[in-house]
Each structure stands twice: as C-alpha cells, then as structure tokens.
Symmetry: C2
DNA sequence: ACGATGTGAGAACGATGATTCTCCACGTAA
DNA sequence: TTACGTGGAGAATCATCGTTCTCACATCGT
C-alpha cells in the first residue's frame, strides 16, 4: 500500500469514527484496526493524534462545502437565485436523512475540545465563517439585504443541531419554511 | 460538612468544570479538589461518574429553564404575549454575554457522549423537547399558528451554537430580528 | 548472495483516569 | 477511658490510551 492510499484510509476511518463516537472516545488503536494501517505508519503520516483530528476536520470541511455547493449550484442554475437559497435547506434535509447523521462535526468537536485545543476551536470557527460567507453570496446574488444571510445561517445551524438530537429530518423543512417567510418579507424592500 | 451541602458543592464544581472543558476532559480528582469533597464522599453520593454527569445535566436543565421562564414571564406580564416571545431572545443575549459562555451543555454533552451513553442522549432530547414545548406555549398564548414555535426554536438553537463558536452575542439580536419578521408574517393570519 | 532499509504486528512504556482501599485522626456513647 | 464508627487524605489498583520500541521479515540495489 502506498503512502497516499494509506493516508486516505486513515483519514476515512478517522472521519467515520470521530464523527460517530466523538474524538476522545476513539483510540488510535481503533483507527489502526478500522483502517488496516499500522500504528507505525499512522504516526509517520500524522505525528500526533491532534494532527489527525485537525486534518479530519479540514477534510470534512472541504467535502461538506463542496457537496453543498454542488447541490445548490445546480438548483440555482435551474431555478434562479431565490431557489438556490431554499436549496440549501433541501440539501440539509438530504443530509439529515443519511444513516448515522450526528449533527455538525465542528460543533461537536468544538464542544468536546474547544476549550483545550485552540486549533480545533479555530477550525470550527473557520468552517462556520465559510458557511456564513456562502450564505452571504447567495443572498447578494438574490438581491436581498445582507442581514438576511445571518438569519438564514441561524436557521440552518438550528436545524442541524435540532435534527441531530431529535433524530428527525423534519427541522430542515421547518427551517426552509421559515427561510421562505424571511425571503418573502424582503420582497418589497 | 453535611451530606446536602457536600452534594451541592460537588454538583456546583461538576457543572462548572464539565461545562467549561467537557465531560471526558474532567477527572474525578479535579472535581474533588474543586469541590473540597473527598473522593470517598463523592462516590457515596454518586455511585459512578456517569451518574454525576446525568445529575449535572438534570440540575442544569432545571435551572436553565427556570431562569428563562423568570425573564420571559416578567417581560410578558409587562408587555404582552408577543413581547414575551421576543424576550426569549433578549434572555439569550444576556446568557451569551456571560463570561465563560460555551454554548448549550446538552448539545455539547450529546456530541461528546450521545453515541456511547443512551441516558445522556435521552436527557439532551428531553431538554430540547421542554424548550420546544415552552415555545409552543408562548406561541399559543400569542395566538400564532403552531408551526411558528418550531421555527423560533430553530432560530434560538442556531443562535446558541453560532454564538458559542464565534464568541459574539450578536446572533441573539439577529435571531430576535428574524423572530420579529416571522411574527409579523403571521400578523394577518 | 548480502547488507541496508523499511514494514507490520504487537509488546512496552509512561501517563492519566475511575474506582477502591488503607490508615489514621477524631468525636462519641458506654 | 475505651471501643467504635465516621470521614478524610491519598496510596493502590486496574484499565485505557497515546506514543515508541523490538524484532522478525521482506524488499531491493549492488
């Protein structure tokens, strides 16, 4: 097995396990057995667990935003910038329905490690900032006032955590309805 | 020191430490030194750490909801049911500005332990369900359609986590603005 | 073939944590 | 006073975890 595939396998295993059970509940030995990569190799690739945790978050951030953007862009191309905004919530609904959905990995990591690890706290902050920026772009493209972006972000974040705890994807629909109301309220502005 | 005060001191220390650093990052020995109660006594009062964690969450749930209700009730008595709803977000703003604010203890505990501990997951679920129920009562008192309660809940949850990660209390104001818009949108309904 | 290098399996190490145990001081009932 | 129960400080125990080390084995260039 070459280094790149070993690295990918470790990151895949780490992502699945960290997301499912939290960071501290997952030992390096479990990542070894799940990935099939020896401890020695894992420590060659990541000098310490903390680096693996950071890389897991960075990889997840990139993939999460790419998947979101793909879904939203195709909806926006087909139905315009207003529908693009609502498509964010449709995508959340799809996400919430995935098996093993456990909320936002960044909120979870922040809650678990934010006090102790400034780098984890920073990555979580950046992820949320990127998400906010993304909403800001959609709102600008739809010619709505900028504060709407922050409000939509709150709806999305609320849906993410509420869905995780209740185990239902319904909050995505509720957030979408609220988002539509907020959009309509700026219609004449 | 009698048993009741020892119990109170342990729970106070546990709440402060668990909330600040997360559950797994806090050892029983730290709770002992912070509370001034010997390990022997702690284990008399709580047969295992897990029981202490559960009790910490229950105590926090009760106090959190009592404090919220106090603030909202006084606003509602003075300015009516519509202002009572908005007062929830004013109270969130006060909470976010408290030193050491780190988001919702239940979301954090759920993220950290939800997979591994069904009882923690259950307590978190109950807490959120109570919060939702509280919103439902306010919405009913203000004669608004029931689905509004779910939407307001999402705004509040979103503000709670966003404020924790960004370190700013501003999301409370943004959520309040969005809530006002949603309220106005049902004005004529 | 042979030495150098790298690898995997798993033991070893040192730290930390949850839980229990030991030992001793102290107050108290007889 | 004395025997006793209680409680505290902290050592002991046992497990787990992050990290490193050992060692036997394979690979490969010469």
């Amino acid at each position: 097995m070459d280094l790149d595939t070993a690295r990918a396998r470790v990151l895949d295993a780490a992502e699945a396990l960290f997301y499912e059970r939290g960071v501290q509940a997952v030992g390096m030995d479990l990542i070894r057995s799940a990935s099939g990569v020896s401890l020695k190799r894992i420590y060659q690739l990541f000098p310490a667990k903390e680096q693996l945790v950071e890389e897991f978050l960075r990889v997840r951030d990139a993939r999460w935003r790419r998947r979101l953007a793909e879904h939203v862009t195709s909806a926006g191309d087909a139905h315009g910038p207003r529908e693009a905004i609502l498509a964010v919530f449709d995508w959340l609904h799809l996400w919430f329905d995935e098996p093993g959905y456990r909320g936002c990995a960044f909120i979870n990591a922040f809650g678990e490690l934010g006090t102790v690890s400034p780098s984890v706290a920073g990555i979580a902050r950046e992820h949320k900032e990127e998400f906010r920026r993304y909403f800001a772009g959609l709102v600008a493209a739809a010619d709505r006032p900028a504060p709407l972006a922050d409000q939509l972000l709150l709806l999305a974040e609320g849906a993410i955590t509420t869905s995780a705890i209740t185990g239902s994807a319904e909050p995505a629909r509720q957030a979408r309805d609220a988002a539509r109301t907020l959009l309509n309220a700026t219609e004449s502005a």
